[in-house]
């Protein structure tokens, strides 16, 4: 490609915009060996499923044949880990650097014995560090004490100097492998070193591994302390020193006894232990599963923390909106749907959230109701929102419904309501006077304004009572009005009769208008008179004021309406009086 680019460059042709399409590669299946070309052509593209070619020795790959044979030769080597310079021979590939002339090598191969010394001389410069010499490692041991140090620091009644030396030699020989040291420990006190006078040969003490360890650790710790006083020790050294000083052979011996006991348990003991272990495993696994189950349960019970204001969900629109958003979220999650294929609530767990939105209301209504009833209740309350087709819902008979205090509301008002409040509300009339009248009527019936037991039925009855009281009050108002009208009319009739008598006596009538006004005035006084009567019987103080007011009002406009209200107020009092 480079050449083509160069040519283009020279000829000032624009550089190739796109790489050339690849040459079509001829797909030629390689003819397997052992099939003739003709046969292969007959076979077509499809090769037979079984291999026809026979196995035969392939020989060395051609590439290798072309290479020169790399020579191996038996070459002597010494081991750096040895002190005696033992020369052993091993096969090594001859290096190609022609450091060793080939003819000499061949000669060596032929004449091994004769030229052995010579070969050694030759290979000497070639030799490098023996590969395996680096693995020759020894355990790190403390410096051997001097006589002076021994007599000053390491004297011990139980150990002679010779035996200590023997121990230290063994430790060095076996690289601190205590099992081996204890196994090979065969110290025999030398007789000739014993003083002649001391004829009693000390009984051969049996040294246990713990004795040896204690002695060695003491020596090692002391030597360490001589080398570096404890104040100058590095942390690791100090730790080491402490550990060695603290070695307690008795404790070690006890431990070994226990280990032996443990090892020599009988089959029954082993079985029992295995059983106990199995039991323990079972218990712990049970506990684990119990804990996990409980955690799951808690996580189910945990109410999702409400974020922000719940006021928006207190209306039915808010609720339906919430449901919509939940459904949407559910759909977008594409997980288990809240609603089944037929729109039913799929599982109680999924349907939980909407249920809980209306929860507090229903609980306020029926705190003692059982779970099924309350669920039914909830569902009924949310009639339009969630169809109550939950399979767990039981249809209740009317008796049961009343027993459980289940109500069916046409419309639910938002928020919490108390039944007693509703009852209370009934006693509040539009006007204060009316309210007082109602209260008066209730007091007369000896029913408290605030109900003691505002149960459903009590409330209903109370409602009826209030209604009938209202009706009664209305009726009384009407009757009083009618009565007063009758009285007025009677009074006017008596007036007319008197006038007629007077007219019959002196003049019949001066002005048609005047008698009207007079009637009015008299009407008022008549009322006044009746109130005075009532006041007199009631023995109240402000009846005079009342009467004056009424009289004034009657004088002011003389309208029926006003008079009616006055009348009603008066009639209330009279009513009271009557009841009393």
């Amino acid at each position: 490609m480079a050449a083509a680019a160069d040519v283009r460059d020279m000829l000032d042709l624009p550089a190739e915009s796109q790489p050339r399409p690849h040459k079509k590669q001829k797909v030629v299946e390689k003819r397997p060996e052992g099939i003739t070309r003709e046969l292969y052509a007959l076979l077509g593209e499809r090769a037979p499923p079984i291999a026809i070619n026979e196995n035969k020795y392939k020989g060395r790959p051609k590439l290798l044949n072309k290479l020169r044979v790399r020579q191996w030769r038996m070459s002597p080597f010494t081991n750096g880990a040895r002190s005696d310079g033992l020369v052993l021979n091993h096969w090594q590939r001859k290096h190609e650097g022609a450091r060793q002339p080939a003819p000499e090598g061949t000669q060596m191969d032929v004449d091994v014995d004769g030229t052995k010394e010579e070969g050694k001389e030759d290979t000497k410069p070639l030799e490098q560090e023996y590969t395996f010499a680096k693995y020759n490692v020894k355990a790190q041991l403390p410096r051997r004490y001097t006589d002076d140090e021994y007599s000053r620091h390491l004297r011990n009644n139980e150990w002679t100097r010779e035996e200590t030396d023997y121990l230290m030699d063994l430790v060095a020989d076996y690289d601190l492998r205590w099992v081996l040291i204890a196994d090979r420990y065969e110290y025999q006190p030398r007789m000739d070193s014993e003083p002649e006078g001391n004829a009693i040969v000390p009984a051969k003490t049996v040294r246990t591994m713990e004795h040896m360890k204690a002695r060695y650790y003491f020596i090692a710790a002391t030597m360490l302390a001589i080398e570096h006083p404890p104040s100058e020790m590095s942390e690791a050294e100090f730790e080491w020193h402490e550990k060695m000083l603290k070695f307690d052979p008795n404790r070690e011996r006890d431990r070994k006894e226990l280990a032996a006991l443990q090892l020599n348990r009988t089959a029954d003991e082993v079985r029992e232990e295995a059983m106990l272990l199995e039991e323990l495993k079972r218990i712990t696994s049970n506990e684990q599963s119990f804990i996990s189950e409980r955690r799951e349960l808690y996580s189910r019970l945990e109410v999702p923390v409400s974020v922000g204001n719940t006021a928006m969900y207190q209306s039915s629109q808010g609720l339906s909106q919430l449901l919509q958003t939940l459904l949407q979220a559910d759909k977008s999650k594409k997980r288990r749907s809240i609603l089944g294929p037929d729109g039913a609530v799929a599982s109680p767990a999924a349907g939980q959230t909407p249920t809980q939105a209306g929860g507090p209301v229903s609980r306020g209504d029926t705190p003692s109701a059982n779970a099924a009833a309350s669920a039914a209740n909830n569902n009924n309350k949310k009639g339009p929102a969630v169809p109550p087709t939950q399979p767990v819902v039981r249809q209740l008979t009317a008796a049961e419904e009343s027993r459980y205090g289940i109500q069916h509301h046409e419309r639910v008002t938002a928020g919490v309501q108390f039944r007693s409040d509703r009852a209370q509300k009934l006693t509040q009339a539009k006007s204060n006077v009316q309210t007082q009248k109602l209260a008066g009527a209730l007091a007369e019936l000896e029913i408290p304004v605030r109900l003691f037991m505002p149960t459903e039925r009590v409330c209903k009855d109370f409602e009826k009572l209030i209604q009938s009281v209202n009706v009664l009050l209305e009726a009384r108002k009407v009757s009083e009005k009618v009565e007063s009208e009758i009285r007025v009319l009677e009074a006017s009739k008596a007036e007319r009769e008197r006038k007629a008598r007077e007219a019959a006596g002196e003049t019949t009538a001066a002005d048609p208008e005047n008698p009207e006004v007079k009637t009015e005035a008299e009407d008022g006084t008549g009322v006044l008179g009746s109130t005075a009567e009532a006041a007199g019987s009631g023995g109240e103080k402000g009846e005079g004021g009342d009467g004056k007011n009424a009289a004034e009002a009657a004088k002011d406009d003389g309208k029926h309406k006003r008079s009616a209200s006055v009348l009603s107020a008066v009639s209330d009092k009279s009513n009271k009086r009557q009841r009393r």
């Binding site: 081991n79 052993l88 021979n89 590969t131 076996y174 099992v179 081996l180 196994d183 280990a259 089959a267």
Partner: protein, 471 residues
């Protein structure tokens, strides 16, 4: 992998110095080059001695089986306890083991090998020089020894190797350690079921624990003696073993019928010694052990109750028997008896009594479980569980059918607490040559070459160096 590339030495840690590994045993002596997977030369340790034209002649190796020479007697340089008794002969047998196959065909300088010589009168002098050369002059030698080999025997061994064979480097390793190496373990409890001995060797970090080494004479030869005792009491008729060399022809007979064979007879002055016949009989017995003898696999002893209430002996009786045909054509199916002959390795009461036998009756302390127990009692308690989880079984007699299962069972009943794990190679040659293979591995390791006792060191320190170096 390209065959022309050498393996990276660091990969396997090997560095072969063409050492010879010699693993002498009571029954066979194994020799071969280190780094190979089986010994090239396996010869019987027994040798034959006979008189030929007034001269005492020796015959080694398999040659003695070929021809029953006149008056041949068979001897073993190694004593019953596995320690060499006859050092001169032991040296000869061992030398034969490697010289016959491994070192004798050494290419010689064509100028000196005599073939190209013109002057024939100089030839004898040349030959004299040649024969003087020591057989191992340029080959390091690794030898094995039993764990209870006394110091004197060890010193004698290095003397032979250094002075008679002229090896430049020598090492003496315990066969227990080598068997542990063969199964790739540096620490193991090696149970070696040999011909004359069974031995238990605790090995820790590649060294034996001397106080734990135990051996007892209930090896393959003891099993042979049990088989002989069984044959004497055989029910239709006592069986006499007639070795192959005494049979000239035979005809097939029905099972249990007396044999019909023509026997070869030797004149009294030319007849081989009784020891020769005993050795030949031993070969037949070895065949019998391979084909018929079976160890009751457990659980429990053969005489004990089985798991389902039926006694183990009944169970064994119900299993189909195994036929065996003797060289003289006599054949019989062996039923429960084939379990009995090895049972006394585990249960001393099951031994078949034979007052005439030269082999003394076993004692309780000689049985394998007791030996193992004694061995473990001799080692530190901390490593006992480790040893029990690394039990290595080796030795040709452990190839008796069902042996390792039974051993496993016995160990589990002896030590119910710790985990017991018996590792026995399934390959027959690995089991037979366990310690040789371990020696082959050891002597071809690059790191081992610092361990050799060189000729120079031997000359400096004397034979005692073997005690210091081969610990």
């Amino acid at each position: 992998m390209n065959p022309s590339n050498p393996p990276q030495a660091a990969e396997y840690g090997g560095d072969e110095v063409s050492a010879i590994v010699l693993d002498p045993g009571y029954s066979t002596t194994r020799a071969g080059f280190a780094g190979e997977d089986a010994p090239k030369s396996v010869i019987p340790t027994y040798y034959g001695k006979y008189n030929y034209e007034g001269q005492e002649r020796l015959v080694f190796g398999d040659n003695m089986f070929v021809q029953p020479r006149a008056g041949i007697s068979v001897h073993n340089p190694i004593g019953k306890d596995g320690i060499v008794e006859d050092w001169d002969m032991a040296e000869k047998v061992w030398e034969y083991s490697f010289a016959s196959r491994l070192t004798a065909t050494k290419p010689e300088n064509p100028f000196h090998n005599g073939l190209n010589d013109i002057s024939s009168e100089e030839l004898p002098a040349e030959m004299e020089v040649e024969t003087d050369e020591k057989p191992l002059a340029d080959t390091p030698l690794l030898m094995s020894e039993p764990g209870w080999n006394p110091a004197k025997a060890r010193e004698k061994t290095i003397e032979i190797a250094m002075e008679k064979w002229g090896t430049p480097a020598f090492y003496l390793a315990r066969n227990g350690v080598l068997a542990a190496f063969a199964s790739g373990k540096a620490s193991a409890l090696v149970i070696d079921i040999g011909a004359s001995n069974i031995s238990v060797t605790p090995v820790h970090d590649g060294m034996i624990l001397k106080r734990g080494v135990q051996h007892s004479p209930l090896g393959g030869d003891y099993i042979s003696s049990q088989i002989r005792a069984l044959f004497k009491k055989n029910s239709p008729q006592p069986i006499t073993i007639t070795p192959h060399y005494l049979i000239s022809s035979k005809t097939a007979v029905e099972a249990g019928q007396p044999p019909q064979a023509n026997y070869r007879t030797f004149p009294a002055d030319r007849a081989p010694d009784a020891s020769y016949r005993a050795l030949q009989e031993e070969r037949t017995l070895a065949e019998f052990k391979e084909c018929v003898v079976q160890t009751w696999p457990g659980p429990n002893k053969l005489s004990g109750p089985g798991p389902t209430g039926i006694s183990n002996e009944e169970l064994a009786r119900s299993s189909p028997g195994r036929p065996f045909e003797f060289p003289d054509g006599y054949n019989q199916v062996f039923g429960v008896d084939r379990f009995r002959v090895v049972e006394s390795l585990f249960d001393v009461k099951a031994a078949i009594p034979d007052p005439d036998s030269p082999v003394p009756a076993p004692t309780q302390a000689q049985t394998l479980p007791e030996v193992i127990k004694a061995s473990l009692a001799g080692v530190d308690v901390d490593i006992r569980p480790h040893l029990l989880s690394n039990v290595v079984v080796t030795g040709a007699s452990s190839l008796v059918y069902g042996f390792t299962e039974r051993l496993n069972q016995e160990l589990m009943t002896l030590f119910p607490g710790p985990r017991v794990r018996v590792s026995a190679p399934g390959n027959t040659s690995e089991r037979r040559f366990g310690s040789w293979i371990g020696g082959s591995i050891l002597a071809s390791l690059g790191t081992f070459h610092q361990m050799w006792i060189s000729k120079k060191e031997y000359e400096e320190h004397g034979a005692n160096i073997v005690e210091k170096r081969c610990k």
